[in-house]
C-alpha cells in the first residue's frame, strides 16, 4: 500500500509558506539571525565566559575596559566590561535571555487574554462585545506603553524597590501582557465575526455542540493565522516595552539585567567616554527587534490576513 497519510513535515514542505520562505532572502536572513540569537540566549550559561550573576567572579578593578581592538583593552573581555567590572559579552548574553523570556512570556499572556476576550466578544456579541471592546478601545487610546508605565509605577510604589526587583521578571510579563491584550483581542474578534457566519458553524450548532466547544474547537483554529502574524510583531513590541520600562527604572534590576537595564546602566557612563556599555547592548536590542519585525512583515505578506487596525 502506498503511503496514504502524509506526514505533517511533508505537508509543510509543500505549503505556500515554505515556498515563499525559500524565495525571500530577507526572511531567511532574519530567521537565521533570530535563531542564532535565541540559541545564544538559551545556551547563555554554556557560552558566556563568566557568570554575571556571580559576584565572586567580578573584579571591580576591571571596570570600564573597552572592547578588543581599542587602546587599554584586555583580551579576557572581548566586548569590554561595564562599570561594575562585569564581562559585557556575558552580560549581553544573559540580558538577551531575560529580554526574550519577557518578550515571549508577555506575548503568551496577552495571546491567552486576547484570544479569550476576542472569542467571547466576537461570538457572543451584544453586551459582552460592547463592554469588552469599549475597554479595549479606551486602553488602546492611552497607548500600551503609557498603560505599562503607569501599572509598573504603581506596582513599584506598592511593592517597594527590593521586593519588586526580586519578582521583576514576572511583574514585567504581567504588566506588558495586560497592557497589550487589546491588540490581539481586536484581531481575533474581527476574524471571529467573519467565521461565525459560515456554514460549518451552523452545522456544529445544529449537531448540538456546546458553545465553548464551537468557540474553541471549531472557530479558534480558523482564526489562528492572523493571531500568528500579530503575535510575532507583538513579541518585538513587548521586548521594546520591556527595554523602555527597564530604562526608566521600572523593570529589571541591575543585578539581573535585561538589555534595557544594561542600556540604562551604561547611559550613566556615556559622558565619561565609555560608549560601549550602552551602545553594544543597544545594538543587540535593535537587531533582535528588527529581525522579528522583518519576519512579521514577511508573515503578513504571506498569510495576508485581514488585520484589524484601529
Amino acid at each position: 500500500m502506498t503511503t496514504a497519510t502524509v506526514s505533517r513535515w511533508d505537508r509543510f514542505r509543500e505549503s505556500f509558506v515554505w515556498y515563499s520562505f525559500k524565495r525571500d532572502k530577507v526572511a531567511i536572513a532574519s530567521f537565521v539571525v533570530l535563531l542564532l540569537m535565541v540559541l545564544a540566549a538559551v545556551f547563555a550559561p554554556l557560552l558566556a565566559p563568566t557568570d554575571p550573576y556571580d559576584l565572586a567572579q567580578i573584579n571591580i578593578m576591571n571596570s570600564e575596559l573597552p572592547p578588543a581592538g581599542l587602546a587599554g583593552s584586555d583580551p579576557a573581555f572581548p566586548l569590554g566590561t561595564d562599570a561594575q567590572g562585569r564581562d559585557l559579552l556575558s552580560t549581553i548574553l544573559y540580558g538577551t535571555r531575560v529580554s526574550l523570556m519577557i518578550g515571549f512570556g508577555a506575548v503568551l499572556l496577552q495571546s491567552v487574554l486576547g484570544i479569550l476576550f476576542g472569542l467571547l466578544a466576537g461570538y457572543l456579541g451584544g453586551k459582552v462585545d460592547a463592554v469588552l471592546m469599549r475597554i479595549a478601545d479606551v486602553q488602546l487610546s492611552f497607548s500600551t506603553l503609557m498603560v505599562a508605565i503607569i501599572v509598573g509605577a504603581v506596582f513599584k510604589a506598592s511593592f517597594g524597590n527590593l521586593m519588586f526587583g526580586e519578582i521583576a521578571i514576572y511583574m514585567l510579563i504581567f504588566i506588558i501582557g495586560v497592557a497589550e491584550w487589546p491588540q490581539i483581542a481586536r484581531t481575533v474578534r474581527a476574524s471571529v465575526l467573519a467565521e461565525k457566519k459560515k456554514e460549518y458553524v451552523d452545522a456544529a450548532k445544529v449537531m448540538g455542540f456546546s458553545t465553548p466547544r464551537i468557540m474553541f474547537r471549531h472557530i479558534l483554529p480558523n482564526t489562528l493565522s492572523p493571531i500568528f502574524v500579530i503575535a510575532t510583531v507583538q513579541i518585538a513590541n513587548a521586548i521594546i516595552s520591556e527595554a523602555a520600562l527597564s530604562f526608566l527604572g521600572l523593570g529589571m534590576p541591575e543585578t539581573q539585567p535585561s538589555l534595557g537595564s544594561l542600556i540604562k546602566s551604561g547611559f550613566d557612563y556615556i559622558q565619561s567616554g565609555s560608549w560601549w556599555i550602552t551602545l553594544l547592548p543597544g545594538l543587540v536590542l535593535v537587531v533582535l527587534v528588527l529581525v522579528i519585525n522583518l519576519l512579521g512583515d514577511w508573515l503578513r505578506d504571506v498569510m495576508n490576513p485581514r488585520l484589524y487596525k484601529g
Binding site: 487610546s141 506603553l145 503609557m146 506598592s158 527595554a243 542600556i263 535593535v286 512583515d297
Partner: protein, 349 residues
Amino acid sequence: MLAFLVQRISQAFLVMFVISVIAFAIQDGLGDPLQQMVGMSVSEEEREALREEMGLNDPIVVQYLRFAGNALQGDLGNSYFYSKPTLEVIAEHLPATLELVIGASLIIVVFSVPIGVYAAIRPQAWLSKFFMGVSTVGISIPVFLTAIMLIQLFSIGVTVNAFPADTGWGQWLNGFFSTEGGLPSYGRGDNLTHLFGTWHSGFFSEGGLMHLILPSVSLASIMLPLFIRLIRAEMMEVLQSDYIRYARAKGLSAGRINFLHALKNTMLPVITVGGVQIGIMVAYTILTETVFQWPGVGLMFLEAITRSDIPLIVAYLMVVGLIFVITNTLVDLIYGLVNPTVKLTGKKA
C-alpha cells in the same frame, strides 16, 4: 449628528470617571497621609482622632466623592516633595513638555508628508525603497536608544582614527566619520523668555533652540516612520480610486492630480490618526525627557515615582487622562464631521 455628539461626550465623561476611580484607588491604596504628616511619637489614640478628623474612616464612597469634588474644583492635593498644590507643579512643568511636542510635531510634518507622498507616487524607485527600509529600521529602534546615539554623535562627538592618518584619503575618511559634538544634551538652558503665567519659552533665543534640537529630533524619530507609512498607504489607496483615474483620463497634469486632488483626501485620515498619535507621544515624552533631563511633566512624573510622591502621581494621571480624553473626543468628532459615513455605534468606518 446630535446623537453622535451626545454619545461621544457622555463616553468621554464615563472614561474620565473611570480614570478618577483608578486614580483614587491608587491614592487610597498607596498613600497613608497620616504617616507623612505625623512622627513616630504620636500615640495611637491621637492618630485615630486625626484619622476621624480627616475623614479617613468614612465609607469609601464618601471619600471618593470628596476626592472627585475637590478634583472638579481644581484641588488635587499638595505634592509631598514640592509642598505646594500638585496642579501648580504640573503647570510649571507643562510648557517644557508642550514645546518638546511642538518641536517634534514640526519635524514630523515637514519630513513625513513629502517622503510619504513620494513613496506612494513612485513605489518602485530606489529612493522610496530606501526610505521605507529606513523607516522599518526606525520603528525597531527604541526612542531612548535614538536619543543616546544622538547624544554620542552630536553632543559628545566621535573621533574616528581607524583609517591610516598619513594618507590623504585616510585623513579624509577619518574626518568624514568623526563628529564635532557640542550640541547641548542637558535641560533647556538658562536663556528662556517669559511669555505668560508659568510659560517660559525656549523658542526665542539661540540657546533655547539649540537645547531643543536633540530632544525633539529623538521624539520625532519614533513617530516619523509611522507617519511616513501611514501617508504612503493612504495615498496609494486614494491613487487607486475612480476619481483619480477619471482625472487622469481627462488629461490633467500629474502634479495637479497628485498634489491637489489626491493629497487632499489623503490628509483627512492622516490628520485624525495623527491627532491620536500626538496624544500617544505623551508616553514617549517620559522616555525622551529622562534621557535629556528635560524639565517637563514626564521627568516630573518619573521623579515623583522614585520619591513616592503619591499626590503628584495621581494628579499627573488625572491631567494626562484628561488630555487623552479631550484629544480623542475631538478627533472622533472631527472625523464624524468630515466623514458622514461614520457609524453612530462608534466604530470608525
